[in-house]
């Protein structure tokens, strides 16, 4: 499924970049993320606990801040597998500054497979939108705490 959208923050672009690429903040922002452990700079072991269509599961995998071009863009890659199936998401995240606001736009693909794909199909795009909303809401909170 395609994922795309735009968010605006009343904060300097460098600060938004910091929050969007630092595992300390990502760990709090990625919905269901219990832990992000660095394997190498930019690559992290991830443990996610997500509920889709009343199927709650733990997904173990990884998150990566790939091809960073600070403070303008990077690719965020998240993938995890568990007994309910697997989740994969990859998005190009681009930042720009306009009218004293940082505009964050993302464009990407999400994929879901296994048990949750089989029984939760009609809910998946709704849940993906909801999780993206939660992500950026938390990013906003992280920015305020800086």
């Amino acid at each position: 499924m395609k994922l795309e959208g735009t968010y605006r923050f009343n904060t300097a672009q460098e600060k938004v970049w910091e929050v969007l690429t630092n595992p300390k903040h990502l760990e709090k922002a990625i919905p269901g993320c219990e832990k992000l452990e660095e394997i190498e700079p930019g690559k992290y072991d991830a443990t996610l606990k997500i509920g889709i269509a009343a199927i709650k599961g733990t997904y173990k995998g990884m998150a990566e801040v790939a091809d960073p071009q600070p403070p303008d863009k990077y690719r965020l890659v998240v993938e995890g597998g568990g007994s309910p199936g697997f989740v994969k998401g990859e998005a190009l995240i681009e930042l720009s500054y306009q009218d004293q606001r940082t505009i964050v736009s993302y464009q990407g693909e999400g994929q879901v497979g296994g048990l949750i794909a089989g029984v939760g199909q009609r809910l998946i795009s709704g849940i993906a939108k909801m999780m993206l909303g939660q992500f950026f809401k938390q990013i906003g909170k992280e920015l305020k705490s800086l």
């Binding site: 597998g81 007994s83 697997f86 497979g113 794909a117 089989g118 029984v119 199909q121």
Partner: protein, 812 residues
């Protein structure tokens, strides 16, 4: 051979099904009711990926879980079992009961755990770690044949796993000389039978005796029993296969359970235990079975008067990741009746079975026919429109005449009996066709979109095993290693006990079709008793029940071949009793009649012997029997068709034995704002030969049409572009409910008894599954004619119809 009308007291009556009593009282005996001492329970770990290499499986943690007894992994499989073969498929394509080094569809089993109960077994699955290397998936037949398509079976180097070009007559000449041609591309999606009871297997291996006992809700054909023995590398007399008395529906899907039987048997063998596996609904949706889907390019040639002269078509079949026998019969089962009820002689079929990252296809009610008739009935309607002819008129012109039976089709079938034009006339009358057309015209003026669609088809029943061999090329069939196939028989055992009570034993693996009551009616007629006095035990057991290679319930064979076997067996026993009665009454056997539980002399009914007396003589006083007569009163009869011969070198084969006919006419209304289709009226006329029980048949017809409505408008065995099966529960796979079922059907009958069966009966269980989709599609297109919409793809969801309407508007 057929009985004269008027002689039957029970056959032809709506005798109520006595099986129903046990079903509604909760006393059915299904596979899950079978419990063995010290039985373990199995659960399968299934792949979440549609296409991936298995890099590693670590089951150590699972084995340590309390209550877990063992695990079977894919890499063990090739050492302990043989790959499943399929007709016309290269042996290089390996198909096992579990994924070995690669998974090829989402839901394919990768490991099986056995534990003290299913809960522990499922918990253990969570502890198995599988390392997958995902590969790109392909789910469209045409994409799978492109150069850069992902290949499922690298050993083959292609996804084209079976290919036949079948040509009868001279199609190219016909098209050169045609006055008019029509062509189009059709897409028929995949749907399935969704039986209320899923697959279940119990395998018990006794290492001391090296003997395997199996229980499964399998419906045949028992040719697949020999296949599973071969896969297990076991001799047939080291396996006993028992089918429980009751099965909760099948519709053909449970033919495919032999693959799961092998997997569970292997784990039972490994540990020398009894293992039970009951498939849950989600497992059934991802791993059970579904009918193939088809992309077709169809061309029809005709004279300017609307006489069909030939059809040229190319099929791309979605058969899933492997070829599960009896596939690729989805393409070849109806080869004998490809031409349907029409008299044209030239036909070419270029059939391509394409491997895709989806669950394997399986037989589903209507098997292969609904796809052929969709193509032919849709293209025929397009021809009618081009020639400005009425769809009923064009069909009447092309149907085979009643004086042409038995009719030899150009593809090798012998249609045993029929009066197709009478069926069409009757359907038109019942439907009130003229009146409905007038109503349609008036409704159009009011801005309503009402359409009428017709479809007619020949219903093949009792498959001749030879049809499997259409999948082989003539060159392959000429090789020394090829063994010809033929036959379509069934076996029945009838006995009369010392007190005169009658028992019939059969193994037709009933799944709710009232087999017991139907046989009771047939046998009651033979003996002159009431059906309530006949006990029928329809429960297959390879060790104790007589059976043949084709035994089972599929291709609507029960009504013709099973009843024939039972009637013949009963007749033989009765004839013996007549001889005994004649001997005791000192009369000639020709003068003895049987009725009301007595044997009496014609014309002198008071000179009689009761059933009990005659039976008693045979059992208790065999010394008084005529010399040379055997003790006891029982016999086993196998009824086989003389018409079941093997295939010819030019691909001609009588793929079935009895052929019925049906005409379906539907009236629908389409709401252009929502795309929703309402069924206004539905008429169907059937010729199933001698009708054994009108009530049972009516139930079958309602079921067939309801399933077709589901298939055309609601059901979609859908996979996304990554090969994820996205309708694995009834929340997304929309089976028709009472609300979607037709409120009223106008059903008519024409009876042309078959000269081949004992009672003149033919199959009737699949009939409208084969013609209803075409009738509905024809009706929807007829409704949307004013909007210039062409219907050539299923399913017809409201979304799809609405989009077609918008696209047509934009093009204007």
């Amino acid at each position: 051979m057929s009985k004269e009308k008027g002689q039957s007291k029970w056959v032809g009556k709506s005798y109520p099904a006595k099986e129903i009593l046990r079903y509604v009282r909760g006393r059915g005996e299904y596979i899950d009711d079978v419990k063995l001492p010290n039985m373990l329970h199995a659960a399968d770990l299934r792949s979440p990926y549609a296409h991936a290499r298995i890099k590693n499986i670590d089951a150590d943690k699972a084995l340590k879980l309390k209550g877990v007894k063992g695990v079977l992994l894919g890499h063990e499989i090739p050492d302990i079992s043989n790959s499943f073969p399929a007709a016309g498929v290269s042996p290089k394509l390996k198909f096992y009961s579990m994924a070995v080094d690669k998974v090829r569809y989402m839901g394919e089993p990768v490991a099986t755990v056995i534990a003290k109960n299913r809960y522990v077994a499922e918990d253990a699955l969570d502890l198995i770690h599988v390392e997958y290397e995902p590969l790109p998936a392909v789910v469209d037949q045409e994409k799978a044949l492109e150069e850069d398509a992902p290949i499922l079976h690298e050993e083959l180097g292609t996804n084209l796993i079976n290919h036949r070009v079948l040509h009868w007559g001279d199609v190219d000449k016909v098209f050169r000389e045609a006055d008019v041609t029509v062509e189009d591309r059709f897409v028929f999606h995949s749907y399935a039978g969704t039986p209320i009871e899923n697959f279940g297997v119990i395998a018990k291996f006794d290492p001391g005796e090296d003997f395997l006992t199996l229980w499964a809700n399998f419906v045949g054909p028992f040719s697949l029993y020999f296949l599973l023995a071969m896969a297990l590398r076991m001799r047939e007399n080291k396996i006993r296969f028992i089918v429980p008395r009751d099965i909760g529906g099948s519709f053909g899907i449970k033919c495919g359970i032999f693959v799961d039987i092998v997997r569970i048997a292997l784990v039972a063998k490994k540990y020398g235990r009894a293992v039970k596996w009951i498939q849950d609904r989600r497992e059934h949706m991802v791993g059970g079975g579904r009918h193939s889907g088809r992309i077709s390019y169809v061309k029809m040639a005709a004279t300017k008067d609307g006489i069909i002269t030939g059809i040229d078509e190319k099929w791309y079949e979605d058969v899933g990741a492997y070829m599960r026998a009896p596939e690729p019969a989805c393409m070849y089962r109806p080869s004998g009746n490809y031409v349907g009820g029409y008299s044209f002689k030239d036909l070419r079929v270029d059939a391509n079975a394409v491997a895709l990252n989806k669950l394997e296809s399986a037989p589903y009610r209507g098997y292969g026919c609904h796809l052929v008739y969709f193509n032919h009935e849709r293209i025929l309607d397009m021809l009618a429109r081009k020639l400005d002819m009425d769809p009923v008129e064009i069909r009447m012109k092309n149907l085979i005449n009643k004086d042409q039976f038995p009719y030899e089709t150009p593809t090798g079938a012998t249609y045993d009996s029929g009066d197709y034009k009478a069926c069409l006339r009757k359907a038109v009358e019942l439907f009130e066709y003229e009146k409905m057309r007038k109503m349609q015209k008036q409704a159009k003026k009011d801005g309503r979109l009402i359409g009428i669609g017709v479809a007619a088809g020949v219903d093949p029943s009792v498959s001749n095993m030879a049809y499997i061999t259409v999948a082989y090329t003539p060159e392959e069939r000429a090789e020394a290693s090829y063994l010809p196939k033929s036959g379509g028989g069934e076996t029945a055992f009838v006995k009369v006990d010392p007190s005169g009570t009658i028992t019939v034993s059969m193994g037709t693996c009933q799944s709710g079709q009232s087999h017991e009551s139907t046989i009771a009616q047939v046998v009651a007629d033979e003996f002159g008793v009431s059906p309530a006095e006949v006990t029928v035990i329809d429960q297959m057991d390879t060790a104790t029940h007589p059976f043949c290679v084709s035994t089972g319930s599929y291709s609507s064979r029960f009504a013709s071949v099973a009843t024939s076997a039972a009637a013949l067996a009963a007749r033989k026993v009765k004839e013996k009793m007549v001889k005994i009665a004649a001997h005791v009454l000192e009369a000639s056997p020709e003068d003895i009649m049987a009725a009301d539980g007595k044997f009496f002399v014609k014309g002198s009914p008071d000179i009689s012997l009761s059933m009990k007396r005659v039976a008693g003589t045979a059992h208790w006083d065999p010394g008084s029997l005529p010399s040379g007569m055997e003790v006891g009163l029982s016999t086993q009869e196998t009824f086989n068709f003389e018409t079941s011969k093997t295939i010819t070198a030019d691909d001609k084969v009588n793929s079935s034995n009895t052929y019925g006919f049906m005409v379906d006419i539907a009236a629908v209304e389409v709401d252009p704002n929502t795309g929703k289709v309402d069924l206004l009226k539905y008429t169907t006329v059937h010729d199933v030969g001698t009708v054994l029980n009108p009530k049972f048949l009516e139930g079958q017809i309602y079921g067939a049409i309801t399933q077709s409505i589901g298939g055309v408008f609601y059901e979609d065995y859908a996979y996304d572009e990554n090969g994820q099966m996205v309708a694995a529960s009834f929340a997304d796979y929309l089976c028709p409910t009472a609300k979607e079922a037709p409120k009223k059907l106008d059903i008519g009958h024409v009876e042309t008894p078959s000269p081949l069966t004992v009672l003149g009966s033919k199959g009737g269980a699949e009939s409208s599954n084969e013609t209803c989709p075409a009738a509905l599609a024809n009706a929807v297109e007829d409704a949307l004619l004013p909007l210039d919409v062409t219907i050539n793809e299923l399913p017809l969801t409201p979304n799809k119809i609405w989009q077609l309407i918008q696209e047509a508007k934009e093009q204007k």
